[in-house]
């Protein structure tokens, strides 16, 4: 492991992310914010939805934004860099083991996911016009934030190294969209009780643990999955996606 090279690559990614901040932010934050506005403001103000829904929605939106940003931030550049021009070799030829290049991409994605998760809180607060959150479980919140950001960028690594450029559309409609809608982002897991099969099925979706986790940390009064289950599952999903991602990366980087 060559820390100088690793650090230089992180600064390269930070430099590029700063340059593309507006594009990146609108790609990943605009949609959740519109959702927050419509459901958290319009529907609650008009009385069609209970005022409580705001507090229920926000943790889900944090999870959604983090997962979406982290996945996007790692997968999209990788997809482009593994294309025809093999732009990835610009960095593969740097004096560092190639696994560490994948790790570097994951770390850069984590930072972006964390930033997006932290931006979403004040933004949603403003858009919804005030939400009551609990500050009693901050350690849990930050632990979860790290686990979820690692999850997001590991998923990005695995997808970015497995999907061909011609299948990006499919990746969104077949993988990311179901993940978001069945990820307990807009409703708590408990709300699926009327659909027992679906309630069990969604447990394979890692986003469920992210949303439920943030709910258990920020609005613990609402029903949520057990914290132990959440943390253990997130660890397991992190390990799984990171292992798959690294394997796919090595496979693609070498011919």
């Amino acid at each position: 492991m060559n820390f100088t090279t690793f650090w230089a690559m992180l600064s390269r990614d930070a430099h590029v992310a700063r340059r593309n901040f507006v594009t990146l932010a609108s790609q990943t934050l605009l949609q959740p914010m519109m959702f927050v506005f419509v459901f958290g403001r319009v529907m609650t103000t008009s009385g069609l939805m209970a005022e409580q829904y705001k507090a229920l929605l926000l943790p889900g939106i944090i999870a959604l934004s983090m997962v979406f940003t982290g996945t996007w931030a790692v997968a999209m550049p990788l997809l482009a860099e593994f294309q025809f021009t093999r732009e990835i070799e610009d960095r593969l030829l740097a004096p560092m083991e190639m696994e560490w290049l994948a790790v570097e991409k994951v770390v850069a994605g984590m930072v972006q996911a964390l930033v997006s998760g932290l931006i979403v809180i004040p933004m949603s607060w403003v858009v919804m016009g005030g939400v009551t959150l609990s500050a009693d479980h901050l350690t849990l919140f930050f632990t979860l934030a790290v686990l979820v950001s690692l999850l997001a960028s590991s998923i990005g690594l695995a997808l970015g190294c497995s999907v061909g450029q011609q299948h990006i559309g499919l990746m969104f409609s077949m993988v990311l969209a179901p993940m978001i809608f069945f990820g307990c982002t807009y409703y708590p897991w408990q709300a699926l009780s009327a659909f027992p099969i679906l309630k069990r099925l969604v447990l394979v979706n890692p986003l469920v643990y992210a949303s439920e986790g943030f709910r258990s940390a920020l609005v613990p009064a609402f029903p949520h999955l057990s914290r132990a289950v959440i943390v253990v599952s997130l660890f397991a999903f992190d390990a799984l996606f990171l292992a798959v991602g690294l394997r796919q990366f090595k496979r693609k980087a070498l011919t």
Partner: protein, 340 residues
């Protein structure tokens, strides 16, 4: 420090299409590989036992047609392609076992520019310097010098999207030189360059070599190999078929001159009659009445050749004389032109 290059019986068999030429693998392609004892559906031997030795501070050329295995050789030597069998060294380091050490020693100009499109030209160089641990002052100074040398200063702060092929190629070379590597690999460096840039490139390569640097370049351009390289290996179908200085190689062609004659029809006695001509060292019969006559002189052979043809009642449709060249050498060894 000076470093050479050595390969020992390098073999590379592709079992999946290599990621070049616009081919992209489908989703989750890894799962589709042949399992167990089944023979993979796709199998191409790109390298078939290549053993080479490039001396330190030498300009060495790999010459061959497209698909001969030149880029695969460079790919293996630059740690990007895992050989199926055989070994390779850059300096004292085994390429596959000491990849990080090797990467420090080498600079690579790939066939297709793989530049970082998210950066400006200047940043491409400075970040590359940073990956190789250059200090901030060092990398700024070197980037400025290289941008100037490669006439890119006026575009230094632009993103690469609007760059022409030639500009990207120049930037690729500048990037490869940025960390001052002991061994420089140039894969088809002059492809797609205008004559002026080609000259600039030759000058840069010679200048870099004069500082004791080893250079390995691949090309299918005869002139380039002839004028630039100290030694050349001719490679075809993954095998080295000839090796030596351009002069040695050219001398090795029987006669040196090649007269390629196209007959309407080639009667039986004709070939013997041609062989008997003075100065002719070898006659080869191709398809459709094509006959290659190797001789130690060119133009002055024609009258005798024409009389021999008319004596055998053969009608000449076309005739071409080529002087001793690496092109002829390639033709001699493979029966094909380099451009085929």
């Amino acid at each position: 420090m000076q470093a050479g290059i050595r390969t020992e019986q390098l073999r590379k068999v592709y079992t999946t299409p290599p990621p070049v030429g616009g081919q992209t693998r489908g989703a989750f392609s890894g799962a589709r590989r042949g399992k167990g004892g089944r023979k993979p559906a796709y199998e191409v031997a790109a390298l078939d036992g290549v053993s080479l030795e490039v001396r330190p501070a030498e300009i060495f050329g790999l010459l061959g047609p497209n698909g001969a295995g030149k880029s695969t050789t460079v790919g293996v030597l630059t740690t990007r392609i895992k050989p199926t069998a055989g070994r390779a060294w850059i300096g004292d380091f085994n390429v596959w076992e000491r990849r990080v050490d090797v990467k420090r020693l080498i600079g690579v100009v790939p066939q297709r520019p793989n530049l970082d499109f998210a950066l400006t030209a200047r940043e491409v160089l400075t970040f590359h310097g940073a990956y190789f641990g250059l200090s901030s002052a060092e990398r700024n100074a070197r980037a400025d010098a290289l941008l100037d040398q490669f006439k890119l200063t006026d575009r230094a702060n632009q993103l690469l999207h609007g760059f022409s092929g030639g500009m990207m190629q120049r930037l690729s070379i500048a990037r490869a030189m940025m960390h001052d590597p002991d061994v420089l690999f140039l894969d088809e460096p002059s492809a797609g360059l205008d004559p002026q840039t080609r000259l600039l490139l030759s000058d840069m390569v010679r200048e870099y070599n004069s500082r004791g640097k080893t250079i390995l370049l691949t090309t299918h351009n005869m002139e380039e190999a002839d004028t630039l390289c100290h030694r050349v290996a001719i490679i075809d179908h993954g095998k080295v078929i000839a090796l030596g200085t351009p002069q040695e190689l050219k001398r090795s062609i029987p006669g040196g001159f090649l007269v390629r004659v196209q007959f309407m029809s080639a009667p039986d006695g004709l070939v013997d009659a041609l062989r008997a001509l003075e100065g002719v060292t070898e006659v080869r019969v191709g398809q459709d009445g094509q006959v290659d006559v190797y001789a130690d002189h060119g133009g002055s052979l024609i009258p005798a050749l024409v009389s021999a043809a008319s004596a055998s009642n053969a009608t000449i449709r076309d005739m071409h004389i080529s002087e001793p060249s690496l092109e002829n050498l390639f033709l001699h060894h493979t029966g094909r032109s380099l451009r085929d």
